[in-house]
């Protein structure tokens, strides 16, 4: 449609000669455009589901397609439940889920744990607070706790740092922290600073003594202190066993034993190379 518009705007007042030149250029352009997206013979794989897993699956797909130009992998969001439904009804080959399957779902689907996701609360090195309860964390991020003395430090206004809407880490955090026992979702305090990467959150926490934020376990470093939650320290083993409250399993799901491209891609994800790529993005790999 855009091409035709372009033509209409330019084509209005042109002589015959001008038109032929224009058409030559135009068809060259069209040819390039078509050649650029010639997809006729490509093998296709569709992955759909959890928006928390989506960015990681996209990264993996990107890496995989770089080495396998004959393959086209299409990653879509929609949520864990939508992914489970889609793979059950054969709309996609691989479903993504960040929640446990119900017994019924587990009966019909094949599960592959691709990685563990641990989200860690981080504070500045000067901050002596070392542990929070989930309720405290919820009160903090919804803006009900506003000063550090309520948590046993000095009287200092708390600087909240959160992630942007749409981020997988934010969605996980909301799901696991901001939801109370009755399933009511508290909303983030409007005063919270919003940053668009784990790194930017860490940077603010490292510089501002009053700051608290949350980042993926894989990106915690010595410039900030990680807090325990409900008395449990986040580390690879508490995250893999899901005893640490902010940890969960990322699943790939298939409706039948994987074959062909589906199998090759899952094998790639579970290979040392795929696992390393996931670790670089901040996830905890399946094994040491």
């Amino acid at each position: 449609m855009t091409n035709r518009l372009n033509f209409l705007i330019i084509g209005k007042r042109m002589s015959l000669h001008q038109k032929s030149v224009f058409f030559a250029l135009f068809s060259a352009f069209l040819f390039l455009a078509v050649a650029g997206c010639g997809t006729g013979s490509k093998q296709k794989l569709t992955i759909a589901g959890s928006t928390s897993v989506e960015p990681f699956a996209e990264r993996l797909a990107e890496l995989y397609m770089r080495n396998h130009p004959e393959v086209e992998i299409n990653v879509q969001g929609g949520g864990s439940s939508a992914g489970i439904r889609a793979v059950t009804s054969h709309i996609c080959q691989i479903g993504m889920s960040s929640r446990h399957l119900t017994d019924e779902e587990a009966k019909t689907l094949h599960q592959f744990t691709i990685a563990y996701d641990g989200i860690v609360l981080v504070v500045n090195r000067q901050n002596p607070v070392r542990n929070l309860t989930l309720e405290q964390a919820r009160a903090l991020f919804s803006g009900r706790l506003r000063f550090w003395d309520e948590l046993g430090w000095e009287h200092r206004r708390i600087t909240l740092v959160t992630r942007e809407e749409g981020s997988g880490t934010r969605a996980s955090f909301e799901e696991m922290v901001m939801k109370d026992d009755r399933g009511e979702m508290a909303s983030f305090s409007a005063d919270a600073l919003v940053q668009d990467s784990n790194g930017a959150v860490r940077e603010i926490v490292a510089r501002d003594p009053a700051a608290i934020g949350y980042i993926s376990m894989g990106l915690v470093d010595e410039r900030c202190s990680a807090l325990s939650l409900n008395g449990i320290t986040p580390n690879d083993s508490t995250i893999r066993s899901c005893t640490y409250p902010l940890s969960r399993r990322f699943l790939f799901l298939t409706s039948s034993p994987p074959q062909g491209l589906t199998k090759q891609f899952i094998d790639y994800v579970l290979s040392p190379e795929g696992q390393r790529a996931l670790a670089e993005e901040g996830l905890t790999p399946v094994s040491e």
Binding site: I9, H17, V21, E165, S167, G168, L193
Partner: protein, 279 residues
């Protein structure tokens, strides 16, 4: 024949540049309008609840935020820029103009991420330690943008001042007015429309700037009522969230772009008229 070919070629290139702008505008409106219709224009513009993945699309905090930051930037930029232009036009010895002017133009060439970085590393901690609060604030964004719009304001006001006929100045001085009186009563009024155009174009730049603002503004979703509170602008709203946005969320970001587009067009039109009335 060759003449014609070159002429045609240039015409095609020129037209496609203009066509690109039109296509972008059409595309933005095409993508954004359905959401505005769905949510309702008033709810979209006047609600301050922004949670696009949960169906709330109010961009009031971002509109107010953009305006606040831009106003502060233009205050800072106008004060510094106009003083600088006056100095260069009236007081500076010619050799220093020859050094200063290119240096100011160089300011325009520094990538915005560098301004943002300096803002994060120097300005934000300074504000946090001196005035309290998180440091990421309206103040930080306004100051950074104020510096960033300087080249625009200085260049255009300097042109305007230099375009004032020499006879005005000579006449005023001959009547016994002091140099300051001449400047204040004759030069500035004569160059007024050009100077205003400079301010308005500067505002356009400030409204549209993204990277530096994301880095120092804090991007919180409140309507700030103090200079020390964090703020989110229209541009940073788009750039922050476009990464994983899909469906209505993405459409809402396009709709944010529509609002931004309209504001920028308005500012540029005002600037155009301001320049025209001068002639």
């Amino acid at each position: 024949m060759r003449e014609r070919l070159i002429q045609t070629g240039l015409a095609i290139v020129a037209f496609s540049a203009v066509a690109a702008i039109f296509l972008i505008a059409i595309f933005i409106f095409f993508e954004g309008t359905p959401l505005v219709v769905k949510v309702g224009l008033l709810r979209f513009l006047a609600s301050s609840h922004w949670a696009p993945t949960k169906g709330h699309f109010g961009i009031l905090p971002m509109i107010v935020g953009s305006l606040e930051v831009t106003l502060l930037a233009i205050l800072v930029g106008a004060l510094l820029g106009l003083s600088c232009a006056l100095f260069l036009a009236e007081f500076a010895p010619r050799w220093s103009v020859r050094i200063l002017k290119p240096l100011i133009e160089l300011l325009a060439g520094i990538p915005s991420v560098v301004y943002g970085f300096i803002g994060v590393v120097v300005l934000v901690p300074w504000i946090r330690n001196t005035f309290g609060g998180p440091g990421f604030s309206v103040l930080a964004s306004g100051l950074v943008l104020g510096i960033m719009v300087l080249p625009t304001i200085i260049a255009i006001s300097l042109d305007a001042l230099q375009a004032v006929p020499l006879s005005y100045k000579e006449g005023s001085l001959a009547l016994g007015a002091t140099r300051w009186q001449t400047l204040y009563r004759v030069m500035l009024p004569a160059a007024r429309s050009g100077i205003i155009a400079g301010f308005v174009l500067g505002m356009g730049r400030a409204v549209g700037e993204t990277m530096a603002v994301i880095m120092v503004a804090g991007n919180a979703l409140t309507i700030p009522h103090s200079l020390l509170q964090p703020v989110r602008t229209l541009t940073s709203n788009i750039a922050l969230e476009m990464g994983y946005a899909t469906g209505d969320h993405q459409a809402a970001l396009f709709a944010t772009g529509m609002v931004l587009f309209i504001i920028t067009i308005l500012l540029n039109t005002i600037a155009l008229f301001a320049v025209r009335t001068r002639r």
